[in-house]
Symmetry: C2
Subunit: 146 residues, 2 copies
DNA sequence: GCTTGACCTCAACTTAGCTTGAGGTTGCAT
DNA sequence: ATGCAACCTCAAGCTAAGTTGAGGTCAAGC
């Protein structure tokens, strides 16, 4: 028979490098949905290793846990996700990261202009506003009046 | 005569779009060094508008306030910064943002490979470890054992 | 059948980057 | 000289993404 179907939180931690406390936190946030033993201990699917991997990658790409939750929502909760499942979701994510890179590039180019003129002037410099829709989510209001 | 030499915190707020509370916070963090009236109210230099602008841009580029403080440390505190001062500091920052873009690009390319093979496998996928030195500063340990 | 390491919950603490509120003072226009 | 908007400080609260610790339970090996 294949290896045990379920793994403990400790094992999941070892296999992913993510702290046990973080895994519990992830469950809390809806990223993981382990079963429970009669004694109330968590039991994860093997496929959750991959699920956690996905979270790590997505984080590296700069996504927040909430965004990741919505991506993961596209995975089947019952059966083990297939290769196609993962590809679909990865591709969707790729678009987000592409957008982020584009935005960063544009911002950098504008910075170049600012270097050229030494301006950093609110009235002229296009680095303000404009891009805030896709924004690198600075908290608080960033409206420029003037 | 030219316009008043000093501006109040409210004015600085209006001119930059940054909340008064945030400006006080920035002083606390060492980003601003206003003078005080006899009555203990803050008085900023006009050049502080530009200083705050710089903070906003730097934040957009993904720098933390602490990093920004060190960049700003290169500005003269007494006299108003010259164009050359700003150019020097902007150029330094450009390098940081370039590095960030590079890292992001590399990560994306690796994601492409993962899409190709559908792996997301800890043993094969190069998206783990490796890059963590320059890392997009995920908190906590991310070592992969396995 | 008992010991012990792994597990459980819940609450409090952490850093970053602020905001909000309470309670009090300043300074400019009339 | 007075009214009142704008200023002041200090403490507490917020979100993200977790960690740490106290106090208690589970399960697997001897």
């Amino acid at each position: 028979m294949p290896r045990a179907e379920f793994i403990t939180i400790g094992e999941l931690s070892k296999r992913t490098g993510v702290a046990v406390s973080a895994l519990r936190f992830y469950e809390d946030k809806g990223l993981l949905h382990p079963l429970r033993t009669n004694g109330n201990q968590r039991r994860f699917l093997r496929s959750d290793i991959r699920r956690v991997s996905f979270v790590l990658i997505a984080q590296k790409l700069g996504l927040g846990l909430e965004e990741i939750v919505t991506h993961l929502a596209n995975l089947p909760e019952g059966r083990n996700p297939t290769l196609t499942d993962w590809q679909k979701i990865s591709r969707a994510m790729r678009e987000q990261i592409d957008a982020r890179i584009t935005l960063l590039n544009r911002t950098r180019n504008q910075l170049d202009q600012c270097i050229g003129c030494g301006c950093l002037s609110l009235t002229k410099c296009q680095l303000y506003n404009k891009d805030d829709k896709l924004g690198l989510k600075g908290p608080g209001p960033r409206a420029v009046l003037d």
